[in-house]
């Protein structure tokens, strides 16, 4: 499976988590792809933390609006029924629990639902942007991540990078499966049939409980 295939599996599976009417914030990078796979009959609204609801796709070339971009500064559009607001209101929406689902990438995530995704000391210090508020505020926090990085597990017993938030992650979706964060640790709920349970556990530092109702992870 190449990187692109992994990302497709992950984001397609996450798209299934979204329900009609949901307000969703998608992080920069892979999470953005989730938006492409939402079934047509499901009407979700994307929140953009720089200040609007109703984030639409990139405009045709030449139709960019200098005053309309996503949180990465890239030109986007707004869908009918969207609204603009200032950053204080944007984070009132986010921190106040009015975002139903946020999907973010991870450097590390652990069995308590701790997430590290904003810095590697001495190496990469981009800043947390809106991630800390999103992870604390959203009703449901879904991590979209490849299962390992350079062969090393990203799903750990305990994160050792600086945290983005403590015990806030609800669901981890990787190319290997779907893992729920529970009071009793990580529960493998779905598995990609290309892998065995043993393989998934081996690629995971934290101990996985295997769900009684372990299902096949289906995309498309």
């Amino acid at each position: 499976m190449d990187k692109q295939q992994k990302r497709e599996i992950i984001t397609k599976r996450i798209a299934q988590e979204l329900a009609d009417g949901d307000i969703v914030n998608l992080g920069i990078g892979m999470p953005t792809m989730v938006g492409d796979y939402v079934p047509e009959e499901i009407d979700i609204t994307l929140q953009s933390e720089n200040g609007f609801l109703g984030l639409g796709p990139a405009p045709e070339e030449g139709k960019e609006d200098k005053d309309l971009g996503n949180a990465g500064g890239q030109p986007v559009t707004i869908k009918p029924g969207g609204s603009f607001f200032d950053s204080a209101t944007s984070f009132a929406i986010i921190r106040g629990g009015h975002v139903d689902v946020t999907v973010l990438g991870a450097l590390q995530v652990d069995e308590k639902g701790n997430l590290a995704n904003w810095m590697i000391p001495g190496k990469l210090v981009p800043g947390m942007g809106g991630a800390m508020d999103l992870v604390v505020g959203a009703q449901q926090v879904i991590v979209a991540s490849e299962h390992t990085i350079k062969g090393n597990p990203k799903i750990l017993k305990e994160c050792d990078l600086p945290l983005t938030a403590k015990e806030e992650v609800n669901l981890i979706v990787t190319e290997m499966g779907v893992i729920e964060v529970t009071d009793k640790g990580l529960v493998l709920k779905e598995i990609n049939p290309e892998f065995t349970v043993a393989e998934v556990q081996e690629a995971t530092e934290a101990e996985l409980t295997i769900s009684d109702q372990l299902k096949e992870m289906k995309v498309e």
């Binding site: 200098k66 603009f84 800043g127 403590k166």
Partner: protein
């Protein structure tokens, strides 16, 4: 109530070493003409409060490139590699703050609040040195207000009294910053007569605005 001034007159208010908040988000809704003038005048040793440092040749990126900033208070600097380089070399002090906290700190300064309790940052390095307060069994960080001497704000339209309207996602940090500085300087794309903006559609009331420079060059 605002006064319409030349860009030179507005810039005269900003000194070396000033603490300046600048609206915009990844160079969308940033007052570029004011920044260009700051670059031209070589105003130095600035403390800048803003969401980000733009990209290398846009927005606050221009002040970074020209090394006019001593301390940067921002939420994200990842899209401007030069900021990271200066930080790593010890040329630039950078304080990183969660976005929702930063904008709320700015609002608190403008709204006369002594601080607020946020759940954001609990259990992370953000809590270091901050007071923790428990309310209803939940832990919160006490975050303090953040004002500045000067706010540079980008508006779409301003009327001659200083009522402002922003456009699309260029609104972002501009309205809270317009509340939170001793001197609020607005760069407006268009200056219109008093009465041309429907009072229901004013996004920043004139009471907050001091100086307006107008019209895109």
């Amino acid at each position: 109530m605002a006064e319409i001034v030349s860009i030179e007159a507005a810039l005269a208010e900003i000194e070396d070493g000033s603490k300046v908040m600048i609206g915009g988000f990844m160079a969308i809704g940033t007052p570029e003409n004011l920044i260009d003038a700051m670059v031209e005048r070589e105003i130095k040793d600035l403390t800048v409060i803003a969401n980000d440092t733009g990209i290398p040749e846009q927005g606050i990126g221009k002040l970074i490139a020209n090394k006019q900033i001593k301390k940067m208070i921002a939420t994200h600097i990842g899209l401007n590699p030069e900021t990271g380089r200066q930080m790593n070399e010890g040329e630039l002090e950078v304080e990183l703050i969660p976005q929702g906290t930063l904008v709320e700190q700015i609002r608190a300064a403008g709204a006369g609040l002594g601080g607020f309790l946020t759940p954001t940052g609990i259990g992370t390095v953000v809590e270091e040195g901050k007071e923790k307060i428990e309310v209803d069994g939940e832990e919160y960080l006490l975050e303090l207000p953040m004002g500045a001497e000067i706010a540079l704000v980008k508006a779409w339209k301003a009327d001659k009294k200083g009522n402002l309207v922003y456009r699309k996602s260029a609104r972002n940090f501009n309205p809270p910053m317009a509340m939170a500085a001793d001197l609020v300087i607005v760069e407006a794309e268009e200056i219109v007569e008093v009465g041309e903006i429907d009072p229901d559609q004013v996004m920043t009331p004139a009471a907050f605005v001091d100086l307006i420079i107008g019209g895109e060059e």
